[in-house]
Symmetry: C3
Subunit: 354 residues, 3 copies
């Protein structure tokens, strides 16, 4: 486990996070841990009564809680937050999140072409290649084996993990995190069939724009646009092995879980949540705040705020009703069979006696 | 956006593409653009009446059209083609497609083992590693961080993007494009369970053969055969994050969209189209010209020319009828319930009055 | 095809594999091949009567067979095994599996930080980067372009293919094989939403532990735990493009086929088999010996020994019955329609005649 040499009195953590302190603010906190493994040097969190464990088993030095839990846990030093998990995340960042994974400076094995602009306090790791015309903002770290193409713009305070590939002309905002093996700016998948049945490649001349505070997982692929741009808007978080096709727009603060894919030119709204292995067809518009269940296939426009699931995706309740009905089908068939024989008997009786 | 410093009179473009010119051939074209953003220096295209926008809004300097659209657009300089999109793709290639992404020559940081044969006008980028016994054809570009194993054969005019890995003995044809992060020749997934429940690895001793004019997207994996070869035939185009298992054959001019997978030993015919996230089971034969809908699962042989979709995949009409029937199930259940009570009433009446 | 310069008399192979020899043990074997392409220098195998081809067409120099096939194939030199395919796999390993893909020694272009411990007979390829605090066991090979982070522990006799990334603090056992492009130790996908709708990153401070004899395919991603560890237990085999999320445990001797994904904190038992493109939701427990069909979605706990398939996954028989019932729905609708009109007729007759 990554270790932290830091320590803070609880009152200082309360101040840094802007939350209310309850109890002894002088207790020294040296790290974060989940509630079931925290010891007295750790701060932990409990989000809701449902997640509350027997207080006598809690060994944490302090706990972040929602206001409704203060009574149950009043014997502990507490930080009171309307969003205990978010506050806990911020505290974890204080202990762990800002440790630079590589030092500043350019590693002697890196290859940096002459016409590049590297900001201050930038760290560039072994075997990194940065092509001409590229600009790297202050405080950004680019770890080993990354390839940054020509005329790329990367903002400040970014963290680019080993083996990331960012191809020509793409633009990356500030505080962007990109995990290992991800490819930004690969060609979109565009062909036109000619009269002989061969697929003629349509050159992909656009770019990819990744806005501020986006995080992209490992081994993803974000294709450049045919013309114009593919864009991931600010604050969106993308898990591993996700593919975003050419000319797609992903809105702000979206969550896209692993192995999902969005096909060409689709427009995803703000705060959309996709669970794992979702597929969105091309030229589809998904409204703001839509929630898409795991493994769903979305082939048509979705209105804002809907919860959908299934292949093809249906409103959640409809999907579960359909699933229920499918499971009841065997019984329905039996009922119909019984009905058939009853009606046959009625008919026969009718004829005999009618 | 990638820029092009080229310019051609429209008549010269007509000549290069072998299509008919209508109107002023002396207009100078400096690039390509979609119809809604083209200006007078661009050539654009309109494929069909359905896609035709109000001509008064079109600002393009010239348009590629099908013969049926000449009347509507006769006020513009036109190129007339039976396949406007394919002709447009060829024109886009004239402006953009042939710009080499890296210069010829071997980068000083590349590691090339002694017994390799590198053709003429080859470009090899930073930190590339090429192992002994490998042959690279004329005009091929191998960008940064690629690893090319022992005894690999790569044809001429290929474009291998940064971070591609081609392992020992594999064979790549001419004009092949492989995007970043793709692995060619990883071991097939083959084990035999022994009496203790352990999985004994079956060495994967075969190779991968990629024929001419194939394009493979980013972060794909094409496994080597157990024995013999895994083969992607000429002209097939594969999108990102696709996996092709050991001993598979993909036919000619196939289109395989993102995140699809083909399991061991399956044989895919020519001109097969797979939409995104399709799965093909092992030892399946898919005939020529089959079209497979997104997210389908194919577990048995498919006859040539079929359009299939679903898990397990059904003929398209059957699938949509089944989906319709599932959505109607609630109503069917109600109908059966009504029938039951009617029949019960009849029976009761019968008994009382019979 | 990878070649082997080795040769053994059949009796020696019998001895090495601990199986019974039938017939001439002096025949010299120079390689392995499938039954339909083996020639007299090859040993092949036949697993069951179902797979037996016409003996007069077999050209193999020797065959591994189950005891039940000795009679049919007694004219050939045989090795008799209860698990012919596993024995064949071991023989294939004798001929091919142990050829080191790179020589021992550290390549001059590799970057190895000072405080690392490299064992004996280790091979480290071009452009490999190994960060400080890392320990590499005896006989392990780390091929070109791999990145091994700080304080990583890699056991002995491992084979790490080109372009693998193993991030800080992760632990890899003995005889582990990791294929190209795979990322071990990327951050888990963990955020907490704050009051403004933004996703606050939860630092991922745990590690990944890969136990002995695990094999992981190409372009996979195995995320580090939020706290604690993500663990793949001994002997499990993972195919290409698989993602394993933070805090997951995969049991011993599991088989996970390509493009499957396991979401956060799920616990997979021993000897579980997942076919391709399976998805397991988060916080799910899957019992020992469960078999999960291709493309299934598992959203709740599964008892040991079950065979399940579908989205959501059902017991196999239930799934196939449901599929059958769905296909019969059209007929059921017709039956109900007929019943309706018959009952209507009865009612009408009743009223007229009753």
């Amino acid at each position: 486990m990554k270790v932290s040499a830091r320590e803070y009195p609880l009152s200082e953590i309360a101040r840094l996070c802007g939350v209310t302190l309850h109890g002894d603010g002088s207790v020294i906190i040296r790290g974060v841990a989940p509630i079931d493994s925290a010891n007295k040097e750790h701060i932990s969190f409990v989000e809701s009564k449902k997640r509350l464990v027997d207080p006598s088993l809690i060994k944490a030095g302090a706990i972040v809680v929602s206001p409704s839990l203060v009574d149950e846990l009043q014997m502990f030093p507490l930080l009171i937050s309307n969003r205990p998990k978010a506050t806990f995340a911020r505290i974890a960042q204080i202990f762990h999140g800002t440790e630079p994974p590589i030092p500043t400076g350019v590693h002697p094995t890196a290859w940096i072409e002459p016409e590049t602009k590297i900001g201050e306090n930038v760290g560039i790791g072994p075997f990194v290649c940065i092509a001409s015309g590229t600009v790297i903002g202050n405080g950004t770290r680019i770890m080993a084996h990354c390839y940054i193409g020509r005329n790329v713009a990367i903002g400040s305070e970014c963290l680019i993990y080993p083996g990331v590939i960012i191809l020509d002309e793409c633009k990356i905002g500030d505080r962007v995190i990109i995990h290992s093996g991800t490819v930004i700016g690969s060609d979109g998948f565009g062909y036109a069939q000619d009269e002989t049945g061969e697929h003629v490649k349509i050159p992909q001349t656009g770019i990819v724009v990744i806005e501020d505070d986006v995080e992209i997982g490992a081994n993803c692929t974000i294709d450049r646009a045919t013309f114009g741009e593919t864009r991931i808007k600010r604050g969106s978080k993308i898990d591993n092995l996700v593919t975003i096709a050419h000319n797609v727009t992903i809105g702000e603060n979206c969550i896209i879980a692993a192995q999902s894919g969005v096909a060409g030119s689709s427009k995803i709204g703000n705060r959309v949540i996709m669970a794992g292995q979702v597929g969105i067809a091309d030229h589809v518009t998904v409204g703001d705040n839509v929630m898409i269940g795991a493994k769903s296939g979305v082939a048509s426009d979705i209105k804002p705020g809907m919860e959908i699931v299934g292949i093809p995706a249906l409103p959640k309740e409809e999907f579960f009703k359909a699933q229920m009905n499918i499971r009841r089908l065997e019984r329905l068939r039996m009922t119909v069979k019984d009905l058939e024989s009853t009606v046959k008997r009625i008919l026969k009786d009718w004829e005999e006696n009618g």
